[in-house]
Every structure is written in C-alpha cells, then in structure tokens.
C-alpha cells in the first residue's frame, strides 16, 4: 500500500532531516489491514535513523507528538486501531514550545 509519511516540528531530524517520505507498506503476515499501530512499528524498523525513544513510547508515539491522518487528528480516526488505506497521508508533528 502506497503511503505518504510526513514529519515536522523537529521530528524530521530522526529521519535524516527528510520531511516527506513516499513508502510502500504491506500489512504484516496474517493481517489483511494495516493499522496505525502496525505502521508505527514499520516506521521504527525501516525508516527511523536514530533515537527511537524520541519517536515512540511503548506501542504509541511519545508524548508531545500529534498524529494526523489526511490532515485530521488521529483521535478522530481510531488512534492506534485506525485502519489505513492506499494513498493515505500520515503526518507526525512534534509540538513546539518556543517563542
């Protein structure tokens, strides 16, 4: 399944300073659908370059990271259980505190 992954608010530094990634992700063995939870594991194992603790905590993203699916808060799309579809855009934004 073709997905666009985007990282912002400094998270891109964990991904070689690249903000936008076109990826091809398949559901893991025995699954028909790709959930956000499975995508997080895929990103950690295939895309993340450094400091996994700055991206994930337990099975989810670390506190302070907002996840968007097609520009909507993942809270509105089932969070970790949300099912992704071909050509979805998943965005990870670290909240900023500077001023």
């Amino acid at each position: 399944m073709q997905l666009t992954l985007e990282f912002g608010g400094g998270l891109e530094l964990l991904f070689g300073s690249k903000k936008k990634h076109q990826v091809d992700v398949s559901p893991s063995n025995g699954h028909i659908e790709l959930t956000v939870e499975a995508l997080l594991v895929w990103i950690r194992d295939n895309l993340l370059k450094e400091r996994p603790e700055m991206f994930m905590k337990d099975k989810s993203v670390r506190p302070g990271v907002l996840v968007l699916i097609n520009d909507s808060d993942w809270e509105l799309c089932g969070r970790l259980e949300g099912v992704l579809e071909d050509k979805d855009t998943v965005t990870f934004i670290s909240t900023l505190h500077g001023g």
Partner: protein, 463 residues
C-alpha cells in the same frame, strides 16, 4: 552619532512612559469623550453643520461612543463591512493578557496596540538581550538591559497613547496565575517553555478565558485557539507532557526571526476575531507553518475530551488545586526557558576546568583539541587549532581522530592527550567516554564554551 540616536531613542521612550503616566492619571478622560466636545477641529461632518442646530455637528449613526479622533484613527477598519464601529467598540472595551514579550509577543502586542484594544497586560520576567533583537521586534538596541515589559509598554504607548498597559515583570506561576488572568477577557500564550504552557492552559480553563496559543522554533510554527466554544484545551491534546529531551529551545536549536513574527501575527488576528465576534475563530484546529516550503496547513483537532484532567467532566484542576499544582514537577522542566542543568558523567580524573585548559594552551603542551559541536556551530566561532568532529559522527570518524592524536617521536608513535569541548559540557563528556573506548586519553573541558566565556575569555562570542 550612534550615541546621539541612542540618546534620542531613550528620550522618546521616557516621553512615552511619561505620557502613559499622564493617561493613567486621566483614565476614562480620553476614550469616551463626548463627540461634540472635540468635533470643532474640522472633521468631515463639519461641512453639513450649518444645516443643523449649532451644538450638534455630527452624530454616531449606530449609537456608538467612538470619538472623532478614534473614528479617524481606525477608519480603515471601520470601513470593513464585516467589522465596523460595533467591532471597534468591542476592541476598545477589551483587555488582553499577553504572556511573554518575546518573539511571539512582539507582533501580538504591536498589532493589538495599533488595532485599538483598550487594555494590554504584558507579562515577562526577563530583560532585553542583544540576541533577542533579531526576532523580538518590539524592543530596540537602546533598551538592551531594560525589562522587557517596560520596553514593550513604551513601544505600545508610542504607537497608541490611548492604550492602557499593565506591566507584570514576573513569571506566571501557579500561585499568581488565576489572580492575574481573571482580570482579562482573553489570554495569549506567547511563552517559551512547556511548563508555562500547561499552566496557562489550566488557568484559562479555571478562569474560563479563551486562549490563543502560538509556538515557534527553527523554521516551524504552530497556532491553536484553546478553550473556546466547546473546543479542546492544551491538555486534551497533550495529556502527558513530553520528556525534557524532546523539548528543544530557541537558545539551542535556533529560530529564524520572522517565523515567530508570522505566528504572533496570526495570534493577534485570532484575538481580534474572538474579541469582536467577527469571523470564525481557529478552535479545534491547528495551523502548522513550515517556513522552508512556505507551506501552511490547517489540521482538524479532536474536540474537548470528557476525561481531560483540566476541562473534563470531573476535572482535577480547579480554583483550589491549581495554585498548589507543581507544574515544574509535572513537566520535569522549569517555568522558564533555562537550559537543562549540566549532568556530571565523567570522573574528575577525566576532566579539566576551562582555566586548567587555558594553562595547557599557554604552556604549549602538545595535545589535540576536539570540538564536538555541530559543523554550523563550529563555523560561528571556535578556538584556534581545534579539530571539529560532531558528536554524532565520532564512531565513523574513529580512525581520523586516532590519527590526529598521534605524533611520531624518537621513541616511536604515541598518542597525545585529547581535550574535548562542546557548547555547555554535556556532549563533550559522552564524547570522552567514547574516545576512551578508542584507547585515547581523553579529557572533558568542564562546562564547555559557556564556562570558557565565564572563566577565561569574556570576548569569545558565545551564542
């Protein structure tokens, strides 16, 4: 010449401060003057005056109480059909608390002062520093060293002398937050640290004030309106604070001056919209600004969370508990933008003070100075005769470092001691451990360039 212009600016600021005192003494005397009392100065209405009784030269069509002066001053806003006298009058009666007079607070205050908001509260404990000026455009060279609230108030009053300004030259704390915030109609979060952001949000929930929140770092900006029309609060979005290592500071990561300028200008816009009821406030949405690609996206956010500790159905934060709540413990970070404290990792036998290292240089002792800051930081200012290899590249540069430390003497090849320096003395310690695993005699220069400036060379342009 420079001295003269600085002196001139100081006099102007002093003049603005005196004007402010005068306006405070004559409060209520300026804003709501009887239109007939000042309408003799040749306003547009005068031409038709002869057809009417002499004492009535113009009337306020919609029963507003804007003076002739205010009408002329704000005419370009009054001409907006969606804005008009009604919205302008709401602004004149409104009060806004701006927490932080820095990169975000500067445009917020400038635009709100100019727009005709009645009262501005300015809160900031800091003084103006030289490295603020590239983005904190409300302050100027002549006022470096002055309290930011004083500098910001003077600039606002220079723009608009009818403004009332309240200065709070201290930080927002759990103990004072509700008392300060309850005096205002709306609050602007223009702060620079995560602990203050949770505190402001919670206090706005308890005091029932809408919150216009902005943030900027590097080339990125974010904007959200919280606690407005059933929308979420900061805690609904971020119930658990991020770890301190995930919170970058402008002082470390840098920020392009115009980025907080853009976000702060958006904040001023949202304040004006909420105060006047004009337009659609930016609630339940977040604006994400990427300066590098000049891309602005708005994303849809969740609504208020019934489980939220602050604004949920059974809140733990209330008028009684908030003043006692320890926001620094909750977020593991201070209620200010201070750098995280340096941790001592390596032993004393693997450390040297900055003064000690200065003696090594002065005695011309053979050694290698390894600067492990990032390349762009090294490019700003460095010590002569140093080798720059960023901390993250140490493993792959192992052979190069070992070779650089080697000297050939009559007794054969030996390794020189390696002194390691960084910005504040944290990475350099981790580097010492790594270099020792390469078999090198590595020593940490305690406290890095921050200490070097304090203890050895105040002229080194620490940044």
């Amino acid at each position: 010449m420079a001295d003269l212009s600085a002196e001139l600016h100081k006099l102007r600021v002093e003049n603005a401060l005196l004007k402010k005192q005068v306006s405070l003494l004559t409060a209520n005397g300026n804003l709501s003057q009887n239109p007939t009392a000042i309408s003799s100065g040749g306003y547009a209405g005068d031409a038709a005056a002869s057809a009417f009784p002499e004492e009535v030269q113009w009337i306020a069509g919609a029963g507003h109480s804007l003076s002739g002066l205010e009408i002329r001053r704000y005419s370009r806003q009054l001409l907006l059909p969606s804005f008009g006298v009604e919205a302008q009058q709401k602004l004149a009666k409104a009060s806004v608390l701006v927490v932080g007079a820095g990169g975000l607070g500067s445009p917020v205050l400038l635009y709100l002062a100019a727009s005709g908001v009645g009262c501005l509260g300015i809160m900031d404990p800091d003084s103006v520093e030289l490295h603020n000026l590239h983005r904190q455009v409300i302050h100027s060279e002549a006022l470096v060293g002055e309290l930011k609230v004083k500098s910001a108030a003077a600039t606002c009053l220079a723009i608009n002398s009818s403004l009332r300004v309240q200065e709070y030259a201290f930080a927002l704390e759990a103990a004072n937050a509700l008392e300060v915030i309850s005096d205002y109609d709306i609050v602007v979060d223009a702060s620079d640290n995560v602990a203050t952001r949770y505190l402001i949000s919670d206090a706005c929930i308890v005091a029932n004030k809408p919150l216009v929140s902005g943030a900027a770092l590097g080339m990125d900006g974010q904007l959200t309106v919280y606690n407005h029309a059933q929308g979420p609060c900061y805690r609904c979005l971020f119930p658990t604070p991020p770890s301190q290592s995930a919170c970058q500071r402008c002082a470390d990561a840098g920020v392009l001056g115009v980025v907080p300028g853009i976000v702060g200008t958006f904040q001023a816009l949202e304040v004006i919209k909420i105060l006047t009821g004009v337009g659609e406030p930016f609630s339940e949405r977040m604006l994400v600004f990427d300066a590098l690609s000049t891309r602005i996206r708005t994303v849809n956010l969740r609504g208020r969370n019934p489980e939220c500790a602050a604004c949920g159905d059974n809140p733990q934060v209330d008028r009684r508990t908030l003043p006692e709540f320890d926001y620094e413990a909750f977020t593991s970070s201070p209620l200010c933008d201070a750098p995280p404290p340096r941790q001592q990792i390596v032993g004393e036998d693997q450390s040297i003070t900055c003064r000690g290292y200065k003696e090594v240089r002065e005695a011309h002792e053979a050694h290698l100075l390894l600067d492990v800051r990032e390349q762009h930081e090294y490019a700003i200012a460095a010590l002569p005769s140093s080798l720059n290899i960023p901390f993250s590249l140490l493993p792959q540069q192992r052979d190069a470092i070992v070779a650089a430390a080697e000297v050939t003497t009559s007794l054969g090849v030996k390794s020189l001691p390696v002194y390691v320096i960084c910005r504040r003395g944290n990475d350099s310690q981790a580097a010492v451990n790594e270099l020792r695993s390469f078999g090198l005699s590595a020593y940490d220069i305690t406290g890095g360039f921050q200490s070097w400036v304090q203890d050895v060379d105040p002229n080194f342009p620490f940044f």
